[in-house]
């Protein structure tokens, strides 16, 4: 159901991850994603995967919510895995189910499939953790500050951030509104969930027109309400929550740097790899 979407949701809490400066979280996530895509080595990936897993544990976000964010993208995960298993022809042949066809499952295919699945899940884990543990306003605030050098190029970073704040604030409201309008039109027989393609398109108009009308009304009312609270575009605004890097942020940077560097070293230095292989195998 449309109401059950959890991506972008925030679960207030007081874990060390919640308390990190959102700018630190964004920067760490960025470096993490880059590292994740640089590493080709299984041990490096495992290290990064464990890292994201431990972060989730520390954040005390419920397993259910984490699973939901993975489930939302499960199709992509499975699709990637199947594609690899079917098309990858590297390594030794593990299984050849139909002798008359060329199709076979190879060790390389299975290995790459597992590798890619782990990589995607590791990516989802840490990215969803960012939104789960950071309030939308703080997130947009952080982005605004990180992008503030762009002001030099006369880009209105503040207006962009305000737009993002409002967009994030209104997503749940609009989702609920769509839900109500859809139900109301279905109650008059609109074929939104069944029927021919043409009928569905027609039925969608009955949802989008009221949605647009109400969105414009909301926008107009919100603009007036913001003016009543002395908002003027571009004026200097102070903040309730001032962002200052604290000791824990530097500590987080340090730990992450060590882990990411470790992953890269294992990935790029051949000696490490052979040593690891000898130990394990």
């Amino acid at each position: 159901m449309i109401k059950d979407i959890t991506i972008g949701q925030f679960f207030p809490g007081s874990s060390p991850i919640h308390k990190l400066d959102p700018r630190a979280k964004i920067l760490i996530l960025l470096v993490y994603i880059i590292t994740l895509f640089l590493v080709k080595n299984f041990f490096s990936l495992l290290l990064l995967f464990l890292f994201s897993f431990i972060c989730v544990l520390i954040s005390k976000i419920s397993a259910k919510s984490v699973w939901k964010s993975i489930r939302a993208l499960i199709f992509i995960v499975i699709f990637t895995a199947v594609l690899q298993i079917v098309y990858n022809k590297n390594g030794t042949v593990l299984l050849k189910p139909f002798p008359q066809f060329d199709f076979c499952i190879t060790s390389g295919g299975v290995f790459t499939a597992v590798f890619l699945v782990l990589r995607i899940i590791a990516l989802i884990l840490l990215s969803s953790l960012l939104t789960y543990t950071t309030s939308p306003t703080m997130l947009t605030d952080a982005i605004e500050r990180l992008l503030s050098p762009l002001k030099l190029f006369h880009i209105k970073v503040h207006s962009l951030a305000m737009m993002m704040t409002i967009a994030l604030r209104f997503i749940p409201t609009l989702i609920r509104e769509i839900d109500i309008i859809m139900s109301a039109q279905k109650a008059r027989g609109a074929k939104l969930d069944a029927g021919k393609f043409g009928e569905r398109i027609k039925a969608l108009i009955s949802v989008f027109v009221p949605l647009f009308v109400s969105s414009f009304r909301r926008a107009a009312e919100l603009a007036v309400a913001m003016e009543c609270r002395c908002y003027t575009d571009g004026a200097n605004r102070s903040r309730l929550k001032v962002m200052r890097f604290a000791l824990r942020d530097y500590l987080a940077f340090f730990i992450c740097a060590v882990i990411f560097a470790g992953a890269l070293v294992v990935n790029y230095v051949p000696l490490c790899q052979s040593l690891l292989f000898e130990r394990v195998i």
Binding site: F10, T137, A225, T232, A235, L240, K241
Partner: protein, 284 residues
């Protein structure tokens, strides 16, 4: 202008530009004066023009003719725009469309942030405002998960965090359930009685006007009558011509009088009626 007048309308007319509004609602040549600390209720049916008064009172709309003075400042003068809005905050009907941020305390901070106040001051004002409306425990909650009444209280907190002298509420209870409505009324009375804020409550619920200092009745774009609740509610015929009705207790009193019960004039709160009836039975 007198020192203790907060809001003054002088022969104010306002016409909507046609493309903006289909049914060219307006106010026509209205004048009134609201003193600091007063509790005013503006009554009128939908489309009577009562909501226009809210937007005129803090420089959102500028009068087509006449003047609006906020603490002596003319709202039409551009430099007065922000000072007027700091003096008089406005809360609207739909709480969903007034909340800017996803988290309660971040939303309440929006006004003070716009005033460019130091962080400590913002913190203090946000906490104070949330306590005043009884939403302090919810400061870290997500705004979209609150009930309508709670959202509306957050919207009120967002206004009082700017520490205005007066607050104008434009049908703040129209979209709420009875519980939410009662909570908002209590909050508004607290603001007036305990924080000494001037309150202008615009509504079409008669019961909300029972405890006002003065009532303005708006009909067809003009202020038809002003007076204390007992002056206004003793004229049922007049209210009906304005598309309004008597409060329930006053209705009951009228029926009792028709049945030959002798009641003093000007009873319109349940408490007063109950006391009177108890007195009558005791006398008997």
């Amino acid at each position: 202008m007198e020192q203790d007048t907060l809001l003054k309308f002088e022969n104010v007319s306002y016409t909507y530009e046609e493309e903006e509004e289909n049914n060219r609602l307006a106010v026509r040549n209205i004048s009134f004066e609201i003193k600091k600390g007063e509790f005013i209720v503006v009554l009128g049916h939908n489309g009577s023009g009562k909501s226009t008064i809210a937007k005129l009172s803090n420089s959102i709309y500028l009068p087509t003719s006449g003047r609006v003075l906020v603490d002596g400042m003319d709202t039409s003068v551009e430099e007065n725009e922000i000072p007027c809005r700091k003096k008089i905050g406005v809360v609207f009907q739909n709480p969903d469309n007034q909340i800017v941020a996803s988290i309660v305390e971040e939303d309440v901070a929006f006004g003070p942030e716009n005033l460019n106040l130091p962080q400590k001051e913002i913190r203090a004002r946000v906490d104070e405002a949330l306590k005043a409306v009884g939403m302090y425990e919810y400061r870290l909650h997500e705004t979209h998960r609150l009930s309508g009444g709670q959202k509306q209280r957050v919207a009120i907190a967002g206004i009082i965090a700017m520490r205005p002298a007066g607050i104008v509420l434009d049908e703040p209870t129209a979209m709420l359930d009875p519980k939410g409505r009662a909570d908002i009324l209590e909050t508004v009375h607290t603001l007036n009685k305990e924080l000494g804020m001037t309150v202008v409550l615009i509504t079409h619920f008669m019961e909300e006007a029972l405890h006002a200092d003065r009532i303005f009745v708006i009909n067809d774009a003009v202020v038809e009558r002003t007076g204390t609740p007992d002056e206004i509610f003793s004229d049922a015929a007049f209210l009906e011509t304005c598309g309004l009705e008597l409060p329930d207790t006053a209705k009951l009193c009228l029926l009792l009088k028709k049945r030959g019960v002798s009641l003093p004039d000007r009873i319109f709160t349940p408490e007063a009626l109950i006391e009177e009836l108890v007195r009558q039975t005791e006398r008997a």
